[in-house]
Symmetry: C2
Subunit: 578 residues, 2 copies
Amino acid sequence: MKASRFFIGTLKEAPADAEIVSHKLMMRAGMIRRVAGGIYDYMPIGLRSVRKVEAIVREEMNRAGALELLMPAVQPAELWQESGRWEQYGPELLRFKDRHERDFVMGPTHEEVVTDIARREIKSYRQLPVNFYQIQTKFRDEIRPRFGVMRGREFIMKDAYSFDKDLDGLAETYRKMYDAYVRIFTRIGLDFRAVAADNGSIGGSGSHEFHVIAETGEDDIAYCPSSDYAANVEAADALPLIAQRAAPTEALKKTPTPGAAKCEAVAQLLSIPLEKTIKSIVLATENEGAEPTIWLLMLRGDHSLNDIKTSKLPGLAGYRFATEAEIIEWFGTPPGYLGPIGTKKPVRVIADRTVANMSDFVVGTNEVDYHTTGVNWGRDLPEPEVADIRNVVAGDPSPDGKGALEICRGIEVGHVFQLGTKYSDSMGATFLDENGKPAPMQMGCYGIGVTRVLGAAIEQNFDDKGIIWPEAIAPFEVVICPMGYDRSDAVREQADKLYATLQQAGIDVILDDRGERPGVMFADWELIGVPHRIVIGDRGLKEGKLEYQGRRDTEATLLPVDEAADAVIGKVRAALGK
Amino acid sequence: MKASRFFIGTLKEAPADAEIVSHKLMMRAGMIRRVAGGIYDYMPIGLRSVRKVEAIVREEMNRAGALELLMPAVQPAELWQESGRWEQYGPELLRFKDRHERDFVMGPTHEEVVTDIARREIKSYRQLPVNFYQIQTKFRDEIRPRFGVMRGREFIMKDAYSFDKDLDGLAETYRKMYDAYVRIFTRIGLDFRAVAADNGSIGGSGSHEFHVIAETGEDDIAYCPSSDYAANVEAADALPLIAQRAAPTEALKKTPTPGAAKCEAVAQLLSIPLEKTIKSIVLATENEGAEPTIWLLMLRGDHSLNDIKTSKLPGLAGYRFATEAEIIEWFGTPPGYLGPIGTKKPVRVIADRTVANMSDFVVGTNEVDYHTTGVNWGRDLPEPEVADIRNVVAGDPSPDGKGALEICRGIEVGHVFQLGTKYSDSMGATFLDENGKPAPMQMGCYGIGVTRVLGAAIEQNFDDKGIIWPEAIAPFEVVICPMGYDRSDAVREQADKLYATLQQAGIDVILDDRGERPGVMFADWELIGVPHRIVIGDRGLKEGKLEYQGRRDTEATLLPVDEAADAVIGKVRAALGK
């Protein structure tokens, strides 16, 4: 491509609504333009990167045996009513009526449509397994679209849906998709982790998220550097930090702790480690026609409650924090000095796994300005119910026993789910099995946010000059910047020759023949983030040299004119693993 | 591709709502499935053909210098309000509100969005010309979607929009697009014609439609077999059929024609050719605060009025047919025996070009059961206003003077328009010209109905067994049908070997390893329309032969095993022009 025939629209400043670096840089590099909140044009230079992501995704989906089809953006409400999501889905589901007043939605996802295909087309186990995918425009009416393509309303997704005859089949398909995802993000050139995810509201059993590691990520990920264990902090198992409970050594003692309502203050006041203190969290669950059940959850002073784990415990679904009135009624004191010993009314005590193995610990006394030290299970209070109710922290043992966890931040770009029979049950997608009996299909679903990948790649790869694209999804792999293309025959001839050579070698190269000043040229291509740059000037040519600079290099290297093409071709191919 | 890993869903019967052959065959071949009225899934086999059309379109657009981008499906109402189309567009424009009650539309076309891009991004004549295109999903809320992908609601289009600094530039860009369209439809392998089109309601000056010739087409096209002249019948110039008016030879005579109100009856009654009779059509146009103007349009008895040409004549925009009361008031008689001589009140007479050169012709006498024969211009009534007001008919001289017109039916699959400044004016898309003065951009727009092309290709290419795909857009180019793939080692080995050889040669081949009976296999692939089939069986192999049959061949040819691959590769490449 020659720049004079292309469309380059770089900006000096990002618009005010661009909060994060990928949004700013995609706007400044002219990759996207805003049409409405969360709705963008992909300009030619941006679409080149989108298409490269799509091509990699498509190749790997095909390799994994998935079949591409295309489902419509506009879906009839009837299907969503059948699955129950017409009611369940919030206002993110854009609903509208057509000219005949029939209800439709703009598809944010396609479980309903694909299950409708499966129940009509698949009659026999002989047709299974099958895995359909599409690369398609979705719409999700976010209440506050922002972060550019990271949380847009209209976006491109690859979504795949698999149908198997049994759970073994589903597990095998799931593994194939997992492996395909690993290949996809590896080929794109991203630093990523597959993390065990909480299933959230999508339902089913077993799922992984694929996260691009970036400081600006929205999610906290716990991972083990010495193994492949990784999980969303929401879902990571928190093991007991004390393997076995030690025997009591202290006597129970009521100790004044004036003004020390928090564990940190108690530890400081009593000159004990924070790890000896206990945080008491009071929850309530409703009982129809009766007073609520009050729960006391006990965490070590330096730990925090995991909301999702807690709400999965028997009896705690839909819990809320207790009110101050309830706390006074059950504990006889306002919050701040609460503890499990001597409550006014019975409470259900749950101890975190670590707390359950502690001895000689400190709890509130249910009296303002007093704590109790030397507390021991069995001796001073009954053995507790034990559960994993806390968030993991850096340094925790990895659940796979292979080292200590670290915490990093990630951007979710892919998700694989084992849906099971959630949709086949509600929508009646059955097949005749080997015995001629109807059975529900076992479904999986597998998404990649194609346009989101671009944002995530930038969040992971940028500097103060602009984007630094991985070769595989760069809008161009190489830029040739001739200094004086319009003035110097030698420069022009050399630039044209190199351009032709690189093109012939299958390199995605752009020749900047716009006649801009070198400063403008360089700034544009650094902002756009082309990974390899060659500068051709009269001065260098006199010595038979060109200037090569990789986008991450701090300075240029001189290359002999005759070797430049091969050198650059080698670099690009090496980066692409060719 | 192996059929066992693919998804084939042929049907014995088409659904009842499928009226035309392409709809029936696409359903039966399992290419599409209905989701809602005018909304379809493209199943894997159908999507293969869609993608092949897209690839050809993309290659030729790029070759013509157009730049691919991607605009959103969901567009803010503000842009449509600016252009004026928010009001003008009918209920085909799907309007809806987002969760914040803001108005949006599902884009049926993208003039507004692209003009918004141009006015923001293009500041100077140095950035012109530029031509943006996309291949994108559109929605048009048809009142009665039907004919499958031919008149769907959700469909895929390639739409391009060009911006030039002046009309010369627009003409050049237009010509480039026209040429690209010719290459596209030629490569796809369709019998098509580019026809001069009436601009209809889209406005601007100069446009061509690209029609696939098919008996089931919706449009009548006049074309000259001995030149490249072609025009929609609506727009084709109707030349006078009489080069020069002959001198009068008959006297004016009032002749009884009892009961003969139609030209055909008059001709029969008086034993004269229909070409001597005149059809009188009475139109009216309103005059505010005064009585209407009454027009008498005179056509030869065998001709018909062209509504579009008529409404473009000065004073006749918005005309209507006169009421019976008006006819009685102006002509003194009810319809049936009307004529230009001796009206009660003055009427404006317009003669068709042919009528203007007639002599000794027959008109109504404005008296029931009477006509006047031997009528001559100049002698019996004043010279008329002359205009082209009729539809061309087969046998008319071609306007380019190169032969006689024929009429055929066509399916519109592409359209190129010179929009001029319609949108740049209403939306303020200006640039600074060479003199630093703001000027409106000259726009063109260029559409191809990607999914419609599939339907049109089928309407042109089918038989009673099913579809007959042109090689370039066939879901597969070659199918290998082994007889007894699961039973015969020889058959399986030969099939696998041929499959591998064809794949290596870049042929898009499917191996039917499903183990279906030959009758089922053959019927499936004939229905699906794969252009080349090879049958491998034990009996043939014993003689070292395979069976080849082209989809249009009435019987199979035996090919020596060793020559089969080369023969088929040669046939496919020849068909693709490689």
